[in-house]
């Protein structure tokens, strides 16, 4: 285990390095970053000034090493637009995105786990097929459109919830539900199939032979074994949700990291875009590492 943990950490470090390179190259894709910053109406003189001021006339490798060295020390550069450190901009907006992501995940788990377990316990029945149908429908639902439909129904027609912004905590309800919907089908299918496998195992037959109640078998013996892949996927889904917050935060005008990124892309504020890409990638890498560790705790066999 120690060896494999070292291997995983090394892999994570290598992936971080690659992501660092990718997020740097990403903003250089237009060929002329200075022209992209200056916008379509800028004169050649303006572009020359920007090129000099931002050090864009230096060799690409020097620019990258300079940026990477600062990034490694936690300095992600300064916003072209706000003239403040990017890190501060991200930290200011992180609570919104984290609240949204975590409540989305909580809702997704609260819906997907019971339904997945129920479907597995009644495999092949009408209940099972109904639950799988929900997964199928959920999978086909475009998140941004679902958000708009909810705004029309719950915000405008029924006036139950605010349609955008975060004046009250209720502003989180609709976006969290929409975000949860993106994760529910995958979590539900995985819970179901994991439970079906677990319920077919020998130790379940033993537990049954011992005369344990059905609910105890399902919740205590089978769920523990079915939970492992669900923990991994839940961590991955949280990572995807934080990434997907770009769309949801834009639909609901929530001032989070995703909205910041979208706004920065539109305003050519590339240090911010670069930093958010890097930040979300590192969060994802850390989340998958944590999921591995949690699985090692849940399953003694993985500890070796």
């Amino acid at each position: 285990m120690r060896l494999s943990l070292a291997r995983r950490l090394l892999l994570a470090a290598l992936v971080c390095l690659t992501v660092l390179i990718v997020s740097f190259i990403l903003t250089r894709l237009s060929g002329d970053l200075a022209a992209s910053i200056a916008g379509p109406n800028a004169s050649a003189a303006d572009i020359a000034i920007i090129t000099r001021n931002y050090g864009l006339d230096r060799p690409l490798l020097v620019q990258f090493l300079d940026w990477a060295a600062h990034a490694a020390r936690g300095d992600l550069g300064r916003s072209y637009l706000y003239h403040v450190p990017v890190w501060g901009l991200i930290l200011d907006r992180l609570p919104v995105t984290l609240t949204l992501g975590l409540s989305g995940l909580a809702i997704a788990l609260a819906v997907a786990l019971p339904l997945g377990i129920l479907a597995a316990a009644r495999e092949g029945s009408a209940i099972d097929r109904g639950i799988m149908l929900i997964a199928l429908l959920g999978q086909a639902m475009p998140g941004f459109w679902f958000g708009l439909v909810m705004i029309i129904l719950l915000g405008l027609d029924l006036q139950w919830l605010p349609i955008s912004g975060l004046d009250t905590w209720q502003g989180y309800i609709m976006p969290a539900i929409v975000l949860a919907f993106s994760a529910i089908p995958a979590l539900m299918r995985l819970t179901r199939s994991g439970m079906i496998d677990a319920l077919a195992a020998d130790y379940i037959r033993t537990a049954r032979a011992k005369g344990l109640s059905r609910s105890k078998i399902i919740l205590k013996h089978a769920l523990r074994n079915a939970a492992m892949p669900v923990v991994s996927i839940a961590a991955v889904q949280l990572g995807f949700m934080l990434g997907g917050s770009v769309v949801i935060e834009t639909v609901f005008a929530l001032p989070g990291v995703g909205f910041l990124a979208w706004d920065s892309i539109n305003k050519n504020d590339f240090p911010v875009v670069q930093a958010v890409v890097l930040f979300l990638a590192v969060v994802y890498i850390v989340l998958t590492l944590l999921a591995d560790l949690m699985n090692a705790v849940l399953d003694p066999r993985l500890r070796g």
Partner: protein, 292 residues
Amino acid sequence: MIPIPVPTARREAWRLPALRHVATLLGALIVGTAVVVAIFAPLLAPHDPFAQNLDLRLIPPVWMDGSQPAHLLGTDQLGRDYLARLIYGTRVSMLIGVLTVVTSGLIGITLGILGGFYGGWTDDAVMFLITCRLSIPLILVALTVVALVGSSLTVVILTLGLLLWDRFAVVARTTTMQVRNLDYIAAARAAGASRAHILLREVLPNIVHHLVVVATLEMALAILLEAALSFLGLGVPPPLPSWGLMIAEAKEYMFFSPWVIMIPGIALFVLVLGINLLGDGLRDMLGTRLER
């Protein structure tokens, strides 16, 4: 390590054969209709999808008051016929779906087969690439690329194609590992077959049924992603009639005329549902067991 769906043997729901077949047929019907509509869009569209008529703005569809028989699904905020735009939008969605799957399939299947067949450091390298790809925030990177390179159909297809290969790679790798030590591979080797022959003629045909199912999943994903990118204003450029773009352009009017976002949204939902139903059906027919 990375928890991504891999094929496993397992019983599925939809056990009542009749219901399963109905679902698959429905999926095939939806996808088939979309293909026909996409190909024959110019013949089917009742109007020019780009023709504006400011006197005929936001006319509601036929089932509502104030509709006009000439515009079955009404018109948008610029007076363009909504049915015509919906029909041409099918073209954009199907084009994106198919071409993205071809691009990402080529990349992912190549990587997956190489990693799965050779193992060792080749496999390590492939796993490393998959891990890197998964850690990159998909939508954000796609938005940035389109913003910097410029929005066009080609850029969206290439961007999504270069980003969506991970599931192809994972499934191709796992399934190649399952077949690489089977007798017919050893027999081909003993018969002196070249490596290219073994990979393309022995391995690929025996894993392709798994990859077909992945292709349906990725096609559905690509269509949803294009709609989301276009909705955010960084997908296909206006005035192209993409369903995502139609929703974005109509968003301002959705409070007074909700149908302007309902129609393209339902089209998107039905097409993706159809592709998924077809994928589920293929999975059952081809004996693939693939979790999503």
